[in-house]
């Protein structure tokens, strides 16, 4: 015969084990819920082709701002889902589409046609017309979107705020050069 003390001990151990399993079972959906924005699929799906305007809106040799509604959006996003970008039409169907976010820390760069520079209001980053780094703390040139022209309209592949961790169009960014 086993003594009552052992039986109580067994019940305690059983209770702890049961709660550990239940806690683990509970943690899986909670952690999954919290981490869901970082799933590879949701990150890959964030980038889609977005139409940003007719070609006639972008005169040759000029840099203009275009805005688009972010493709993945919630009904309560309000104006935050309206994303701007800089479109430079070099000639014909040759374009460069830059994110407004400075490659340094994400502030919105402004285009100045007088000096042909993009200037950042936060820490003084400066970029040439082709997006290459000109001066200041940015570690690289402006982030660039992939683009295509279809039926007289300009499309870009966007939908994600560019940072150094998730370059929107990998490999297409101009390297910083001292003289562009």
């Amino acid at each position: 015969m086993t003594s009552p003390v052992t039986r109580r001990g067994l019940l305690l151990k059983l209770g702890i084990a049961l709660n550990a399993v239940a806690g683990l079972a509970l943690a899986v959906p909670i952690v999954g819920y919290l981490m869901s924005p970082a799933r590879r699929k949701s990150m890959r799906d964030a980038l889609t082709w977005i139409e940003i305007g007719e070609l006639s809106a972008f005169p040759e040799g000029q840099t203009r701002m275009a805005t688009f509604r972010n493709p993945s959006t919630r009904p309560w996003d309000g104006q935050t889902a309206d994303i701007p970008c800089w479109v430079r039409r070099t000639k014909g169907n040759e374009f460069q589409v830059f994110a407004v976010n400075c490659a340094h820390l994400g502030c919105p760069v402004r285009w100045f046609p007088q000096s042909n520079l993009f200037l950042c209001p936060c820490h003084g980053g400066a970029y040439y017309a082709d997006g290459a780094r000109a001066a200041g703390p940015p570690p690289r040139g402006l982030f660039r979107y992939d683009f295509k022209v279809e039926n007289g309209r300009l499309w870009i592949k966007g939908g994600m705020m560019p940072t150094l961790g998730n370059v929107i169009a990998a490999g297409r960014a101009p390297k910083g050069s001292p003289c562009a």
Partner: protein
């Protein structure tokens, strides 16, 4: 009066807390610790209570939705009766609370209160510091305006620099691929549930330890902390020369807390609420994002650091600094308490305060930022044009039109990113001016592709005239040498 007493008696019969409360209130503290230097902690705690009260009031009206938050802030400011005042109290309360937490920390550090046996009290205090700063940052995000939006952009750009998983971290911080609805609700949950819960728990722990271990004795130079004898010495001191916490020490806490509440009330009534600034619309890029004052120093560091070490410094610096603070009592837990015999500690505090002050001042003026309207808003000083020929005047036009003024000042007006050019001709010769304009360098963009030869010639002609009357322009010595016979 009798009714109150009988009610309290009725309650105490059932709760049995009266004796414990009386004992806690009357617990003896060292006579010299009932000092005005010891009031900052209770002051910060009082402000925390105000933050809870005003925060709950604001949550009754505020809408944590990216599309509606800005409008609800406008309603709070302009329509909700006294909404502006509650916002002002919460905003000023936060400023004062951060300031008092920092003062409390400096005092505790200089008075050696983090040493044995109060190491854990300090470590919990470091957690409280992080939580307070977390409240300050998330609160700044809830004031959902342009500064909040681009502040989130800066935060995610720093997170994006984490090697390998940077992109994933940005997604988790933002709750999606861009700063939008789910970003705001995340920071709302942090500001209203997660961090306050942590703060309340940790404050409770902090106070419990203060009661259990006793208020730090006022440091005496030469009275060293020894792990084997300190507790007995402290108990002896309190027994021989202790005073009851209430009222001897408490009355000073009470007066200071009252003054702080008065100061918050005064600032809120006179200066009003903070913002919101412009609407959080990312397509409005005519904005100059700046963080609130307690984060301006980080903003300044981000502008002034060499780009090469920036990622490392941004990602490794803050955790390392906090880890150092956290582990400090384990490393320096015994020995001298008095700041009079700890010169390195005093210098470290002086350095930190001075550095913080200088960086904050720089953040306010941000001389590294181009003055983007200087080219059209600030005319060339008349003295630089008087009696000058057509080419020089044309050069002045180029100088303004090509926005050189965004970074270079003339007559004390203009950007300060580059050097002021009032005497540039004394520093650079004509050839050097051409080279600098066309090729840039030294953190100046190259203008070679942006200027026609005629424009460049005119611009350099103008720059060559910029020297004081009593200082001649620089000459190229090789050009000026007499011809060889």
């Amino acid at each position: 009066m009798r009714l109150i007493r009988s009610t309290l008696g009725w309650l105490d019969e059932r709760l049995g807390l009266g004796a414990a409360i009386r004992e806690t209130a009357a617990h003896p503290v060292p006579r010299r610790s009932a000092s005005w230097w010891y009031v900052f902690g209770s002051g910060a705690f009082t402000l925390f209570l105000i933050q809870i009260a005003t925060g709950i009031c604001l949550a009754l009206v505020y809408v944590p939705s990216a599309g509606e938050a800005f409008k609800s802030l406008q309603v709070l400011n302009f329509e909700q009766p006294l909404g502006w005042f509650l916002r002002a109290l919460h905003g000023w309360g936060s400023n004062f609370m951060v300031a008092l937490v920092l003062l409390h920390m400096i005092q505790v550090f200089l008075f050696g209160a983090f040493k044995f046996p109060r190491e854990l009290t300090w470590m919990v205090g470091v957690v409280l510091l992080v939580a307070t700063l977390g409240m300050a940052f998330t609160g700044q995000v809830l004031r959902f305006d342009q500064d909040a939006y681009w502040g989130l952009g800066i935060l995610s750009s720093i997170a994006g620099r984490v090697p390998v998983v940077g992109g994933q971290i940005v997604q988790i911080v933002l709750g999606g691929p861009i700063i939008a609805g789910e970003t705001l609700t995340r920071f709302f949950a942090l500001h209203v549930f997660v961090i306050p819960g942590l703060l309340i728990g940790m404050v409770g722990l902090h106070l419990l330890m203060v009661l259990k271990l006793g208020i730090n004795d006022y440091p005496m130079p030469g009275r060293l902390v020894n792990r084997d004898t300190y507790v007995a010495e402290y108990e002896e001191m309190v027994r021989k020369d202790g005073v009851p916490f209430v009222p001897v020490a408490f009355q000073k806490d009470l007066v200071f807390a009252g003054l702080m509440i008065g100061a918050v009330f005064f600032c809120a009534a006179v200066f009003g609420p903070f913002g919101p600034g412009g609407a959080p619309d990312p397509t409005i890029i005519q904005t100059v994002p700046r963080p609130d004052y307690f984060f301006l120093w980080i903003f300044s560091i981000a502008a002034l650091m060499p780009p090469g070490i920036e990622t490392f410094a941004l990602l490794v610096g803050p955790p390392l600094g906090l880890l150092f603070l956290f582990l400090l009592p384990l490393w320096a837990g015994v020995g001298e308490k008095s700041w009079r015999r700890r010169p390195v500690s005093v210098l470290a505090v002086a350095f930190a305060v001075l550095g913080w002050g200088v960086l904050t001042h720089l953040g306010c003026t941000s001389p590294w930022s181009p003055v983007m309207d200087a080219w059209s808003a600030m005319p060339v000083p008349a003295r630089d044009l008087e009696g000058k020929g057509a080419v020089v005047r044309q050069g002045a036009l180029v100088f303004q039109g090509k926005q050189c003024r965004s970074c270079h000042a003339l007559g004390d007006a203009g950007g300060r990113r580059g050097p002021a050019l009032d005497d540039v001709a004394t520093r650079l010769t004509k050839d050097q001016l051409f080279r600098q304009v066309l090729q840039g360098g030294g953190n100046m963009p190259a203008y070679g592709t942006n200027l026609s030869p005629a424009e460049t010639t005119a611009l350099v002609a103008f720059l060559e005239t910029l020297h004081p009357a009593n200082e001649p322009a620089a000459r190229d010595a090789s050009q000026a040498a007499p011809p060889v016979r």
